[in-house]
């Protein structure tokens, strides 16, 4: 299914996408992503759900027998082929917007935040 609009790009989404774009083939689970992106634990799932709903992410369960391993399975995420293209564009767009000089009240021009 083709999605015309991408997900809502927040700073957290941006950092997650940047992280995933470092190695698009690599699968990461939620807590791993949170730690690597420097987000607060427990905040990643809405972002992942949005990205998955857009078709940018693919997910699968860990190949593991929970009873044998004594722990529940992890859910692994990675960028889909469409997601790699879409995420790269979205991250670039956000970076260019952030780098654009902003005009503050009083005619002062501020440099981009990145």
């Amino acid at each position: 299914m083709e999605h015309v609009r991408g997900p809502k790009m927040t700073a957290a989404t941006d950092s997650v996408l940047r992280l995933l774009l470092l190695d698009p083939a690599r699968e990461m689970y939620g807590l791993e992503l949170v730690r690597a992106a420097g987000l607060a634990t427990g905040t990643i799932h809405p972002i992942l759900a949005r990205l998955e709903a857009c078709g940018w992410l693919e997910s699968r369960w860990e190949d593991l027998d929970p009873h044998a391993a004594g722990r529940p399975r992890r859910r692994y995420y990675r960028l889909s082929p469409d997601g790699v293209v879409g995420a790269a564009r979205a991250v670039d767009r956000r970076a260019s917007v952030a780098a654009r000089p902003q005009r503050l009240p009083g005619g002062v021009v501020a440099e981009g935040s990145t």
Partner: protein, 322 residues
């Protein structure tokens, strides 16, 4: 010490709905199993039929066996394919069940015939075929019959709505530290805030994170904070889910309005009469009117009797004894 981990949704309606959807999925997977199990059997069946029709086998003994009654493998494959198509279609529940049941019954009849014939007749000996061909037919057909029996159970679940949800066996922690009970409780709460269709998935995901935090020797406070953030963001997660996860299926198990029964009996009988009154009220009004009429008639009768008595010069009966 062992600990039980989330065992899935608890809301009855959500359980029923998700279990019914699961039954549909299981029936579909049984259809795929049926197709797989019959793949080898169909080849062997075709070989047997071909051999029985071979000119070398044109003799009275072979003809007497009636092997032409063996199911045609091509047709069998076609019906199985039709069954899989029907299983994958989205119809209303009754139409879906009827279509699937029809195909399943036909396949079952063919497989039973194949099993019976190959058991009664020494096909391998009569046709000079390897025994493995007959074994393949029997094995495949029996596996197919088992798949159909299991599929019927799932269809029954879908049809009646009586669902037996096997409670997932709790994962027992054999290694690592246990998450704190308060964090587990909060994770369960967060799971309950999610739609039933995705609840199991996220509960397992949340719990795996909690276990990992516990394994990393993070204290109960950190675990609680993690679970709290999960619970707080459960609404956000719910909104972020694709709409299909939060909606019922289009062909689905939506409660349908049942039309009133023709005999007017039962709870679906028309509750209002043509004059806009409910049946009960109308009955009560009619009884009251009947009582009034009877009283009026009795009064009239008494009045007429009194008048007659006066005409006759007799004292009214009721005052006669006083």
């Amino acid at each position: 010490m062992s600990s039980g981990f989330p065992a899935g949704p608890t809301s009855r309606s959500v359980v029923a709905e998700s279990a019914r959807l699961r039954a549909v999925e299981l029936a579909r997977s049984e259809g795929a199993i049926l197709a797989d199990s019959l793949a080898l059997a169909s080849t062997a069946l075709a070989a047997i039929r071909f051999r029985s029709r071979h000119p070398a086998m044109e003799c009275a003994e072979v003809r007497a066996l009636g092997l032409e009654r063996l199911p045609n493998s091509d047709y069998l494959g076609l019906v199985v394919q039709r069954l899989c198509t029907e299983l994958g279609r989205s119809h209303s529940r009754q139409t879906w069940l009827a279509a699937v049941e029809e195909q399943a019954a036909e396949i079952e009849a063919m497989l039973q015939l194949a099993v019976t014939m190959t058991s009664v007749i020494d096909v391998a000996g009569e046709l000079d075929l390897p025994l493995s061909q007959v074994t393949a037919v029997q094995t495949g057909a029996r596996a197919g019959l088992s798949a159909i029996a299991r599929m019927r159970e799932h269809l029954h679940t879908v049809e009646t709505g009586v669902v037996r949800v096997p409670r997932p066996e709790p994962v027992v922690r054999v290694a690592g530290a246990l998450p704190s009970w308060s964090a587990q409780w909060l994770v369960q709460l967060a799971g309950r805030l999610l739609p039933g269709s995705v609840r199991d998935r996220y509960l397992e995901e949340f719990t795996s994170e909690l276990c990992e935090l516990a394994d990393a020797d993070l204290g109960a406070g950190a675990q609680f904070a993690h679970a709290f953030r999960l619970a707080v963001r459960a609404w956000s997660l719910r909104r972020s889910l694709p709409s299909a996860a939060t909606l019922r299926p289009a062909d689905g198990w939506r409660r349908r309005r049942v039309p009133p029964r023709a005999d007017g009996a039962g709870r679906h009988a028309a509750t209002h009469t043509s004059n806009g009154l409910r049946h009960g009220v109308q009955r009560w009004q009619r009884r009251r009117e009947a009582r009034t009429i009877l009283r009026y008639q009795a009064r009239q009768k008494a009045r007429n009797q009194t008048a007659e008595d006066r005409v006759k010069g007799e004292w009214p009966k009721r005052h006669r004894n006083s």
